[in-house]
């Protein structure tokens, strides 16, 4: 019977009484799809459904995640009130007064004993621009600590630092998504758009229908690679080498765009000299790709009139991620494919507000408007704007991961964690747990008692995205306004409000007089004025009316800037910087050893987001994939006597996990893949050693030597 009873009861229940419609944006990735969540109250329970809302970026499309994203926001585990950890480890609800007092007392005592820098602030790429801005201001003005950073490190920082160095500005895409269908060739490196940003796929499909040639660089034949004309199955972590092979071949085939290089770049002589020393064959071998494919890729890429390069975590989350991205930018520049229609470079941000989250001072080295904290002028400007003496403005801190190291070293004694789950998302998870447990005082702002928040002394209940208005900057650099009309449940509050109340409790209330998210935005606009990421010309009203605006937008009558670098680059003389990049990074993690002969790469799957705390709570999503897995080549599986469906012990220098085997020919034989949405014994980040990229401070998630073994169950007598 199709007509199940369940269905029957449902139908009977459908005397819908109230219907609420909440306009919002999907929080689960940088596409920021507009949608509305419709809440229907039935006799005994509430039901939710989601509908896409038309907008210029995603045209009303939503992916599976977006369709089901309300689940965590209305989940019964949501925290309604502040909770404080009791000596016996249980949680007790406390009032906001008590909670804020506790924070003040603890922070102030610790700062008195150990200095102002003994407090760390750990932010998030999921919060709004307003909140990122406020969190930075809270750290610098109210707490006066230099230690602030955010989880976006793990996402964007390699591309961000590379773009900044090479082009002078870091914006996710240097052009609008609408340019993609106009490109004749697309080079996608380490980005599985089909699974991560599914609603972006139509852009690629449209490009393909228009005849674009698609080159995909990925150790796995992902769903994205499946639409490629040419798939370069690179060995994990050897992207810089692969690109060197491409560049060397470009130079040898005489395909360098001399005019562009001469007029708009610097550093060609050094780069050329470097390329001439490269052995194409050796480098290609090292990268695991054959020379013919390299030559074809280059000929096609250079031969096309227009083209774009898109990268994501596959290249960026390496211990040489920064340099690997710079090398791809070399390719973009040497072929002159930037600053024109159908041309450009883009780092496909993963997290909801990965872009905006790093523009307004939530990063260790940054001040609002993408200003740099080391730059005397920038410091002066912001100090003046905030009304504090410049010397009082703290200096540069350290990256998120290093912050946790400082916790371990007892340099940082207390931590404010906002909307982040480092226990699951960080490399070396057991180290993170230890580190969090070392803290004298730990306050988390979260929707749930997450894997990380469970170590806190106090959890402040935050509003979910349905209840939290504010701007989010999407992967294109388009600032969008996420509306929110739902009331936060219980006494939970939007993050911006929590930050203001914390500031107030800490005695800095005068600097945080905000009554609404829009108030905060108006201050942010002025703060960013004149900076690289200039939001000055934007207002809520304009963003609403014009359906988003691209920064920089320096004046109220400025149309915004969908395409960057049409004229010059944001560097001296308007020239972009070409750089010679070593094929093998000094601190590479991607060298298999005898004990750990396979290379592990990690990533996400369509149904889940980040650490999965939010998505695993959705039954619809969990039903699709309820446990983690390891993807391996059948030949590899055979060599290790592993069969489909077996549980497998995966071990690296850093740790071990148990996941189920999935055999597929679409992966290199020397590579295995594990998604990162699961915790505990399935938490793949336990395997990642703590090595960081020297520039971007990015952990090398994407290539770790491991070994595998069929798991022998240790059978305990059953307990159900």
């Amino acid at each position: 019977m199709k007509h199940s009873l369940l269905h029957y009861y449902r139908e009977k229940q459908k005397q819908s009484e109230v219907e609420n419609v909440y306009e919002t944006q999907c929080p689960f990735c940088s596409m920021q799809c507009k949608k509305k969540v419709i809440e229907q109250s039935f006799v005994t329970r509430k039901q939710y459904k989601t509908e896409g809302v038309d907008n210029p970026v995603t045209k009303g499309r939503l992916c599976m995640k977006g369709m089901n994203a309300y689940a965590h926001a209305v989940h019964e585990d949501r925290l309604m009130h502040p909770v404080r950890k009791q000596p016996d480890g249980s949680w007790k609800e406390v009032s906001w007064e008590e909670a804020l007092e506790l924070v003040r007392d603890q922070f102030q005592t610790l700062q008195k004993q150990h200095g102002t820098d003994s407090i760390g602030v750990y932010g998030s790429a999921s919060i709004t621009n307003e909140e990122s801005y406020l969190l930075g201001k809270l750290a610098r003005v109210a707490l006066k600590t230099k230690y602030i950073d955010y989880n976006g490190r793990f996402c964007m920082s390699s591309a961000a630092t590379a773009s900044k160095a090479v082009l002078g500005i870091d914006r996710g895409l240097t052009n609008a998504l609408a340019d993609i269908p106009k490109a004749e060739v697309l080079l996608l490196s380490g980005t599985n758009i089909a699974s991560c940003q599914p609603v972006m796929m139509p852009y690629l499909e449209e490009a393909k229908a228009n005849g674009a040639f698609i080159i995909v660089i990925d150790p796995r034949k992902t769903e994205t690679a499946a639409i490629a004309d040419l798939h370069l199955a690179v060995t994990p972590g050897r992207d810089a080498a692969l690109t060197n092979a491409l560049l060397a071949s470009l130079e040898r085939q005489g395909l360098v765009n001399e005019a562009f290089v001469k007029e708009r770049t610097e550093g060609w002589d050094e780069l050329q000299a470097h390329l001439q020393t490269i052995s194409l064959k050796e480098t290609a071998d090292y990268a695991g790709v054959n020379v013919q494919d390299i030559e074809d890729a280059v000929r096609i890429f250079a031969g096309a009139d227009t083209g774009m390069v898109l990268t994501a975590r596959g290249v960026e989350q390496q211990t040489d991620g920064h340099m690997a991205v710079r090398n791809l930018l070399n390719l973009v520049l040497l072929t002159g494919k930037i600053g024109r229609e159908g041309c450009g470079y883009g780092a496909v941000t993963g997290q909801g507000n990965g872009q905006g989250g790093r523009e307004h001072g939530q990063k260790a080295d940054q001040l609002p408007g993408y200003r740099m904290i080391d730059n005397p002028e920038d410091r002066k400007h912001i100090a003046e704007f905030w009304g504090i003496p410049e010397p009082e403005l703290p200096g540069r801190g350290v990256s998120a991961y290093e912050m946790l190291e400082k916790v371990k070293d007892r340099e940082i004694r207390a931590m404010l964690l906002v909307c982040s789950n480092p226990v699951v998302s960080n490399p070396n998870a057991s180290f993170i747990k230890d580190s969090l447990q070392t803290l004298d005082f730990f306050v988390a702002v979260d929707l749930f008692i997450s894997e990380s928040a469970q170590y806190a002394d106090l959890i402040l209940p935050a509003a979910s995205y349905l209840e939290d208005e504010g701007t989010m900057t999407n992967l294109e650099g388009r600032v969008t306004l996420r509306e929110a009309s739902k009331k936060p449940p219980g006494s939970s509050k939007p993050d911006w409000k929590i930050i203001c109340e914390l500031a107030e409790a800490l005695g800095a209330g005068a600097h945080f007089p905000f009554r609404s998210a829009e108030d905060v935005f108006n201050e942010l606009r002025h703060a960013s004025r004149g900076g690289a990421a200039d939001y000055y010309g934007m207002t809520y009203e304009r963003i609403r009316r014009e359906e988003g605006l691209f920064w920089p937008c320096p004046a109220l009558d400025h149309p915004g800037t969908p395409r960057l670098f049409a004229e010059g680059f944001a560097r001296p003389e308007g020239r972009a910087l070409l750089t010679a990049v070593e094929s093998e990074a000094a601190q590479t993690t991607s060298k298999p050893t005898e004990t750990y002969p396979l290379l592990l790469t990690t990533g996400r799957v369509m149904a889940h987001y980040l650490t999965g705390v939010q998505t695993r709570r959705s039954t619809k999503l969990a039903a699709r994939l309820y446990e983690s897995f390891i993807e391996l080549h059948p030949a590899t599986a055979e060599a290790y006597a592993i069969a489909e469906g077996d549980l497998v012990d995966v071990t690296s220098e850093a740790g071990a996990i148990i996941v189920r085997a999935q055999l597929t020919p679409d992966i290199r034989r020397d590579t295995v893949f594990v998604p990162f949405h699961w915790a505990e014994h399935q938490n793949v980040n336990k395997l990642i050693p703590g090595k960081l990229d020297p520039v971007s401070r990015m952990p090398g998630y994407k290539s770790t030597p491991v070994t595998i073994k069929r798991h022998e169950p240790a059978l305990q007598p059953a307990q159900t």
Partner: protein, 752 residues
């Protein structure tokens, strides 16, 4: 009526395609008038070739009958030729002397065949090949005449020649150039084509210029400039076409070779447009259907208030001559900077050539096998960058894979952009099960007819039941035509129903029911109203009419206590002729009990019997200690509830047997739950409360499976993901569990 009055001049392919597109967009927008010089409704000009070759009938080539004009309130001025417009006064004059007004006008006057200015062209049997009338004339003439001469070895000429050959004539082709179809084929392909046509019996006179036609009443001979001459009873002139601009020019509309229009298809006169072969865009006029149709779509959109603009069409050629496959597109001769890929197989008469320039496909000639022509067109059109491998794969493509390998999105009919999916949809939704019906519903095969064989193949496939995944499922049982859902819906709302009353109310043909509904109806009734108890209509398994009976006591989890063993021992002492067997289900079966002593014996054993007369969860089989607790719980909780079919459950530490459909093993990750007997598939790994999960699974199965559908087939039919989706929802799980418990309680009560 204040609708704008739109006049279409020319009742040909472009004009009517424009009208069709207007009707599709905004049927009430215009009062439409169509003027047509020919005495026919709209027909498919390019199929004149097939008409002549005998592969189509006249009625096949009609696109719109006159009834169509009426149905759409189109004023059809048949056989009226427009000679002039007065754009200033919005007036129109016809050759027949009529006058009409218009708000907007479209020239769709096509082309006129070019007739060489030679002596003797006015003989009745010196004709062009353009209209039905021309075609009819040839067919009629062929009956009595013998020699046909076709002037012109281009596409049209060769199609005419092939047709006349079919009409039984002795055919000569006279051609000025060195090779046939020299603008569409390279020398090699042209040579192959000529050879093939010669083998069919056509004689070619190459590099030969016609000087005159002679005869008395009608043509008798064709004379060449070189002095030679050949006999001719029929001469078909196919030396080119000339856009028909006469009426436009007379109206003061700017004309060069054709009527000059911009990319919105507007002439220089406001509100006056031109479309099709008569239109000239950026100095180019076209002589093919595809561009005419593309222009028609653009024009219709513009007329309906949208903005659309025409982008140049990619030209391709396809010879419609029976048994000969020729296709070419783009450039046909390679230059020094090009890369050429050739596949040639003389044994098969195949020659295929692709021309690449800097990694882009710029031209193709496919002779003998046209497979891959669609890719070729797409690639040329999109200027896609490609690797030689992709070109190689096109070259290697072979026709014949045909309909069976088509995907829904694949185009079947290029003229009208009809996809395989469109045809499947027409078949399923509108019952279009013949080529004719598909043509009517989708427009496929209605233009050039080149896809007709493919459409026919698709239709055959569809009729054979392939390609459809959503065939309506059968009736509930052989006693009724009602579908299961319909029966369920009725049963759900009936008060105090029994199988008999259901059969009666729903007018089952067999009031006693069949073997299926004698099980299924009681099951369904019990599912909806467990409190009413389970009615047993069909004994299960079939009763063994024997003197002795056997008895299997309920031993949840297969676990036996010493006290129970002692009791069994005592019973056996009392009934020494009874023996015990251990069953494959790990239970004890007492056999050889005499009918009359059965009750006493059961009392002695002190345990209830396993139910035996309906489908249910079979006693759980356990391998290894870790499952003991769980299997006992499952037996106790689930053992009595009826299920759609028997469910064999096994809980094992070790390898799983092929008999169980639902298997559980304990792993470090939790309980792995497998579905399927021989082929076991991991369904879920339960971490916490595996018992509740199984209960919910069983209840969901009970509620949504067809009667007699095994649990593993049910789960595969619904899909693992949707099933998990239901079970992982805590609220659902709770509801399912509650209903299962209710059913179990009622069953227990009824056995006590």
């Amino acid at each position: 009526m204040n609708r704008e009055k739109l006049v279409v001049i020319g009742n040909g392919m472009a004009g009517m395609h424009t009208v069709e597109n207007i009707l599709a967009r905004d049927p009430d927008r215009f009062e439409i008038h169509v003027y047509g010089r020919e005495p026919y409704a709209n027909y498919n000009r390019i199929m004149l070739s097939s008409l002549l070759q005998g592969t189509s009938e006249e009625q096949d080539i009609i696109i719109h009958e006159e009834a169509w004009y009426e149905k759409h309130h189109i004023h059809f001025h048949k056989q009226e030729e427009v000679v002039q417009l007065d754009p200033a006064n919005r007036l129109l004059y016809t050759a027949e002397g009529a006058e009409d007004s218009f708000d907007k006008a479209v020239f769709a006057t096509g082309s006129d065949p070019f007739i060489l200015p030679l002596p003797g062209t006015d003989f009745p049997s010196v004709i062009p090949f353009r209209t039905i009338d021309d075609c009819r004339y040839m067919i009629r003439r062929a009956v009595s005449a013998k020699d046909a001469v076709v002037i012109g070895g281009g596409l049209l000429g060769l199609e005419a020649a092939r047709g006349l050959l079919h009409q039984g004539m002795n055919v000569h082709v006279v051609h000025l150039a060195e090779s046939v179809m020299e603008r569409q084929l390279d020398q090699l392909a042209a040579g192959l084509l000529q050879e093939e046509l010669e083998q069919l019996g056509i004689t070619f006179h190459m590099q030969c210029e016609t000087a005159s036609f002679t005869g008395t009443d009608d043509v008798e001979a064709v004379h060449f400039k070189d002095g030679r001459s050949i006999a001719a009873d029929l001469v078909v002139m196919a030396v080119g076409i000339r856009p028909n601009t006469a009426a436009a020019a007379a109206s003061g509309v700017a004309c060069q070779r054709g009527i000059v229009v911009n990319r919105e298809l507007q002439t220089n006169a406001p509100g006056i447009y031109a479309v099709g072969e008569c239109a000239e865009i950026d100095g180019v006029t076209y002589g093919l259907v595809k561009p005419a149709y593309e222009q028609a779509e653009v024009l219709a959109a513009n007329l309906c208030g949208e903005t659309s603009s025409y982008a140049d069409s990619i030209l391709y050629t396809q010879l419609k001559a029976v048994g000969i496959d020729v296709f070419s597109a783009g450039r046909i001769e390679a230059g020094p900077a090009d890369q050429v890929l050739i596949h040639r197989d003389d044994t098969m008469g195949v020659y295929r050539k692709l021309i690449l320039n800097r990694d882009r496909l710029e031209g193709a000639v496919l002779y003998g096998d046209k497979a891959g022509q669609q890719e070729v067109l797409t690639l040329i059109r999109s200027r896609k960058l490609m690797l030689p491998d992709e070109a190689r794969s096109i070259l290697a493509a072979e026709s014949g894979a045909g309909a069976a390998s088509m995907q829904a999105a694949d185009t079947v009919c290029h003229c009208n952009s009809v996809s395989c999916g469109d045809i499947t949809a027409a078949f399923c939704r509108s019952g279009a099960d013949t080529v004719q019906a598909v043509k009517a519903h989708t427009g496929a095969a209605s233009s050039c007819g080149g896809c007709r064989p493919l459409v026919a193949e698709l239709v055959t496939l569809l009729n054979s039941g392939a390609l459809q995944d959503d065939l309506p499922s059968d009736a509930f049982c052989s006693c009724t035509n009602l579908h299961t859902d319909a029966v369920a819906a009725e049963v759900m709302t009936m008060e105090a129903a029994t199988p008999e009353t259901v059969r009666k109310t729903l007018a089952f043909s067999n009031r006693n029911g069949c073997s299926y509904c004698r099980g299924a109806l009681p099951y369904m009734l019990h599912l909806f109203k467990p409190e009413a108890g389970l009615i047993i209509e069909t004994p299960y398994p079939a009763p063994a009419s024997q003197d002795t009976v056997s008895f299997m006591p309920e031993l949840p989890g297969g676990l036996v206590t010493p006290a129970q063993l002692k009791q069994f021992e005592q019973a056996l002492e009392q009934f020494p002729h009874v023996s015990i067997q251990l069953t494959s289900e790990q239970r004890m079966l007492f056999t050889g009990i005499r009918q009359q002593e059965a009750d006493t014996f059961k009392r002695c054993i002190g345990l209830a019997a396993e139910p035996t007369d309906y489908y249910r969860i079979r006693p759980v089989v356990t391998n290894g200690a870790s499952g003991n607790h769980l299997s006992r719980e499952l037996d106790q909780q689930l053992g009595r509830v009826p299920t759609p079919a028997d469910v064999v459950v096994e809980i094992s530490d070790r390898s799983l047997s092929a008999s169980a459909q639902l298997s559980l093993t304990r792993s470090d990750a939790g309980w792995d739950i497998y579905l399927g007997s021989a082929e076991k598939q991991l369904f879920y790994t339960a971490h916490a409360d595996v018992f509740s999960f199984i209960c919910a699974l069983v209840q969901y199965y009970r509620e949504s499976a067809f009667y007699e559908e095994p649990i593993d087939s049910w789960a595969s039919r619904i899909g693992f993901v949707p099933v998990r989706e239901v079970l992982l929802d805590e609220e659902n799980c709770r509801l399912l569990h509650a209903r299962l418990q209710e059913a179990q309680q009622h069953m227990e009560r009824s056995t006590v």
